[in-house]
């Protein structure tokens, strides 16, 4: 199989081909969409055992304060993100957002306090813009190191703990959102107990030249199967997690997107470090006044999947569109179609009946609480 010349390869590219993956371009990388097991079985295997995902296309960025004080780096980063970075304890990670002056979202990411530096994982499609954004805001006070060639693999599912602990016993003691450097078969790896499937599991950052060896080591365990981006998408959708570019983008605010929880009290109105990030004048008032629309779960009543882009209506015929489906498909663990989308605040209560237009027909949906499948994080 030939790779189109303009696509980049992750350190696991040859492993994907060897495993018989069906490859496609994603965010500039030639990525595995599915393996011979197929999306349905890959999804179910991850929820029942463990799945190994190549997420090396995502951007890893380190930030160090020139002063040597981590808090200075954290406070500098807070100028471009509404989340509380300064109170993040060493060895802890949290979900972050980059906002723009209109209150919209430029990306979502993970940020960890690694003791002497901050460690960020940002979306593949946004990583060059994110790096430029961070450099523009932080270069005076911080050293910024992009590690875009490093490997990153996710091991997700109920068997993830026992599999990783067999190589690195400390993995067992980590809690959800803990971050630590572990020795995996002689390789220093930055491991977080997190992921994007709703399952317990780990994300493992590795030197590029050791990523293939460690991935093969983990795959050697019978409980672990390689999982492509197809199942990654259905897993995160069932978990109610946003996909940047689909569910959230530069026009959705954190309040619209039902991500208020990601902005801690200390950055909200009346907090010790209130505001001070792009779009604060739009976002903070929305905490009190609400947003006119909001992201909700949508459960089709029938069997037909309702996919991204479908227009939403209040009634089964006529009327103007009231919103749009932003992610949708079949949830193998939910056992039926699942979707997310934006609806007016007045129609956002779980159980509200609305309709989506699919192939010229109006299909009934119920607004549903997220997630569709309960998460199993180790808290």
């Amino acid at each position: 199989m030939e790779t189109p010349a303009d696509l980049l390869k992750t350190p696991l590219h040859s492993l994907h081909l060897e495993l018989g993956a069906r490859m496609a371009g994603f965010a500039g990388y030639d990525m595995p969409i599915q393996y011979p097991m197929g999306v349905m079985q890959e999804h179910l295997h991850t929820r029942a055992n463990a799945g190994l995902f190549d997420v090396s296309h995502m951007g890893q960025i380190l930030i160090r304060a020139k002063s040597g004080e981590l808090r200075d780096a954290a406070l500098a980063l807070e100028k471009i993100t509404p989340v509380d970075v300064a109170d993040l304890k060493p060895g802890r990670q949290r979900y972050g957002l980059f906002t723009n002056d209109q209150g919209g979202l430029e990306d979502d990411f993970m940020v960890a306090n690694r003791g002497d530096h901050l460690y960020l994982v940002v979306n593949a499609a946004c990583k060059h813009d994110d790096l430029a954004r961070i450099k523009a805001a932080l270069s005076e006070t911080c050293e910024i190191e992009a590690q875009f060639d490093r490997g990153l693999i996710a091991l997700q599912g109920p068997a993830a703990e026992s599999v990783l602990s067999s190589y690195a016993p400390e993995a067992e003691d980590m809690m959800f959102m803990d971050v630590s450097e572990l020795d995996i078969a002689g390789v220093p790896a930055v491991v977080s107990r997190s992921g994007y499937t709703g399952e317990d599991g780990y994300e493992i950052s590795l030197p590029a030249d050791e990523t293939d060896r460690i991935a093969r080591l983990l795959l050697a365990d019978d409980q672990v199967a390689p999982i492509g981006l197809g199942a990654r998408d259905s897993l995160r959708l069932e978990a109610g997690l946003c996909l940047y570019g689909n569910d959230i983008n530069e026009t959705t605010t954190p309040v619209d997107a039902n991500l208020k929880w990601a902005i801690q009290k200390v950055r909200r109105k009346g907090g010790a470090r209130e505001g001070g990030f792009p779009g604060a004048d739009v976002i903070l008032p929305q905490f009190e006044n609400g947003a006119s629309r909001i992201r909700v779960g949508l459960q089709p009543t029938g069997k037909a999947p309702v996919r991204a882009g479908a227009a939403l209506f209040e009634t089964d015929s006529g009327g103007e569109a009231i919103g749009t489906v932003t992610s949708g498909g079949f949830g193998p663990s939910a056992g039926g179609p699942v979707a997310m989308g934006f609806v007016p605040a007045a129609l956002a209560a779980p159980g509200t009946t609305i309709f989506a237009e699919v192939r010229g027909k109006r299909l009934e949906l119920a607004v549903a609480a997220l997630p569709f499948v309960p998460s199993t994080y180790k808290r």
Binding site: Q34, G38, V39, M40, G230, K303, P305, R307, F330, P332
Partner: protein
């Protein structure tokens, strides 16, 4: 008489009625199906018209009407259990029966050897 289309459908032609389904190659490419929408019995379709929709976990795809004709029967079993299309695409996973406007029109389609060579 068994015929094939470039859109990976098979037709089993008996008299002026064609039983239509998707090939094993197509079923494998689509992956596990989770939803099938069948045409209405009595619908008159042109060659290349949208006859059916199949959906996998990831995506929706159209199944086109291979020749002009009228839908005279549909296989409700695959709407109830779409996995039949994956497990037995050329048997129990058939989609619909089409009464051809012109029984001779099937001659222009590929035979099995030509289809096999097309998918390589």
């Amino acid at each position: 008489m068994l015929k094939f289309t470039e859109d990976h459908e098979w037709l089993k032609i008996e008299g002026d009625v064609a039983t239509v389904g998707i090939t094993e190659h197509a079923a494998e490419q689509l992956g596990d199906l989770v939803f099938v929408e069948l045409p209405e019995v009595g619908a008159k379709l042109d060659k290349g018209g949208e006859a059916s929709t199949v959906e996998s976990v990831k995506a929706a795809s159209d199944v086109y009407c291979p020749l002009a004709g009228e839908i005279v029967e549909v296989n409700q079993a695959i709407a109830d259990d779409p996995s039949l299309v994956n497990s037995d695409p050329t048997g129990a996973g058939w989609f619909f029966k089409l009464k051809l406007d012109d029984a001779g029109s099937a001659n222009e389609l590929m035979d099995e050897a030509a289809y096999t060579s097309m998918i390589g």
